[in-house]
């Protein structure tokens, strides 16, 4: 015996024929739903490109239709555009003026920084006592023309003022304190033992004696290094 099923919707008890009707109704509903969803899908498929086209403002092209342009539009299409710059054409072509000659201004190198000058050439010491200047030329004259030590190795004076080597320092820097100028006047500084003569320029090419000393020194160094290495190798 079949148990009567209570309908969920109406609360009525259903018998067998009622169940069959209900199944038919459900099948019909399913069919309707299928049809509806099919229609929705179709509408979406057809509508999507159209709506995209309309939102993008793209019109599907139909050949043969072209909006007629106006005469003014056609003229302005060939135009290079509105004028943005209008420089007057120069008509009066005068002869070009001859170039004026102009002397360049005197170029004076800027003074070197104070610290730099003081580091190279310390300020000259103050003269303590007045010495008759008339005596200076008499002592200076023969000394200046006195020939330097002939040949041999040049020995610079033992205590030359820094920067007093003359040729190597820039001309403007050491000039006011150059020993050649200062030395005739007796100062507190002890006079160099080599005499009052200015230190001669060191020659560009080293003297043979210098060469010999250098070679000897290098040779000695090499010899010492060699001996040391041999000793360590033996040990």
């Amino acid at each position: 015996m079949s148990v009567p099923v209570q309908s969920s919707r109406t609360g009525r008890r259903l018998n067998a024929s009622g169940r069959a009707r209900r199944a038919k109704r459900a099948a019909a509903r399913r069919r309707r739903q299928m049809l509806l969803s099919g229609a929705i899908a179709l509408t979406a498929v057809v509508g999507a490109p159209l709506s995209v086209a309309s939102y993008l403002g793209v019109e599907s092209q139909i050949p043969g239709i072209e909006a007629a342009k106006s005469f003014m539009a056609m003229i302005s299409e060939r135009s290079p555009g509105d004028r943005t710059k209008a420089e007057l054409t120069r008509t009066n072509h005068r002869a070009a003026a001859a170039p004026k000659q102009r002397a360049l201004g005197k170029i004076t190198p800027p003074p070197p920084p104070k610290e730099f000058v003081e580091a190279i050439a310390p300020p000259p010491p103050k003269i303590t006592e007045g010495v008759p200047l008339a005596a200076a030329p008499t002592t200076l004259g023969p000394l200046l023309i006195a020939p330097s030590t002939p040949g041999g190795i040049v020995i610079p004076p033992s205590a030359p003022t820094p920067g007093g080597t003359g040729g190597t320092s820039p001309p403007g820097v050491g000039e006011p304190t150059s020993p050649g100028v200062e030395e005739p006047t007796p100062t507190t500084q002890p006079p160099p033992p080599g005499g009052d003569e200015p230190p001669p320029m060191p020659p560009v090419v080293p003297e043979p004696g210098t060469w010999a000393t250098m070679l000897l020194g290098f040779g000695l160094t090499g010899l010492i290094i060699r001996r040391r290495r041999r000793k360590t190798a033996l040990a």
Partner: protein, 214 residues
């Protein structure tokens, strides 16, 4: 319940599709407008566009004071120094010149057909080119300026008593004249041969539409 939602979605989709179809004018398109005259003269070619009556009417509404039948096809923007001259098969007739200062374009018409066009130079702001209709007063082939230090002005077509003229000059970007209209020298030579004394030159300053006489 679910059926109601489906129906609502379907209706919305239909409405969207309908609106899209309507706004993209797929459903209701205007009738195509002919870009050219129905019957063209047998000498018509692809270098020339013939205007329809509607176009002529529109041009007149924008200030063109005489009929134009055809204009030259210019396929790209013209540059300074460019010009086009094409009077092949164009019948004889009245010659007039239209100068558009704003577009910097000069057009020569013969019997209503454009036969030449060129980029121009015109007067600087402090030496403005006058607008209006001027008949050519004089033609001087090798003219030299009296006012501007003997400046060469080949193929001068004098327009006004105070010296405004169309003449050949070096048409380049950024330049302006003292009131004259400068055209490329080669174009000026052709124009000089085409234009006779008394032919009219229309100088247009602005493209503002004018009120048609009622």
């Amino acid at each position: 319940m679910t059926r109601g939602i489906f129906v609502a979605i379907a209706l919305a989709a239909l409405a969207t599709a309908g609106a899209a179809a309507w706004s993209s004018r797929l459903t209701d398109r205007p009738q195509p407008v002919a870009t050219q005259l129905e019957e063209l003269p047998d000498w018509a070619d692809k270098d020339r566009t013939f205007l329809t009556k509607a176009q002529v009417f529109q041009a007149r509404a924008h200030g063109l004071d005489r009929d134009v039948q055809s204009i030259l096809n210019v396929r790209k923007r013209m540059q300074f120094g460019d010009f086009i001259w094409n009077d092949r098969n164009v019948p004889k007739g009245t010659v007039w010149v239209r100068v558009d200062l704003k577009s910097q374009i000069l057009s020569v018409f013969r019997a209503g057909h454009e036969i030449g066009t060129s980029v121009i130079l015109y007067g600087a702001d402090e030496k403005e080119t006058p607008a209006g209709t001027f008949p050519v007063l004089a033609k001087i082939k090798d003219h030299r300026s009296l006012t501007y230090d003997n400046a060469p002005m080949p193929y001068t077509l004098r327009l006004t008593g105070d010296g405004v003229a169309i003449h050949g000059s070096n048409v380049r970007w950024g330049a302006a004249t003292h009131g004259c209209i400068g055209v490329p020298v080669e174009f000026a030579a052709k124009l000089f041969d085409e234009v006779a004394k008394g032919d009219q030159v229309v100088i247009v300053r602005d493209r503002k539409p004018v009120q048609l006489p009622s």
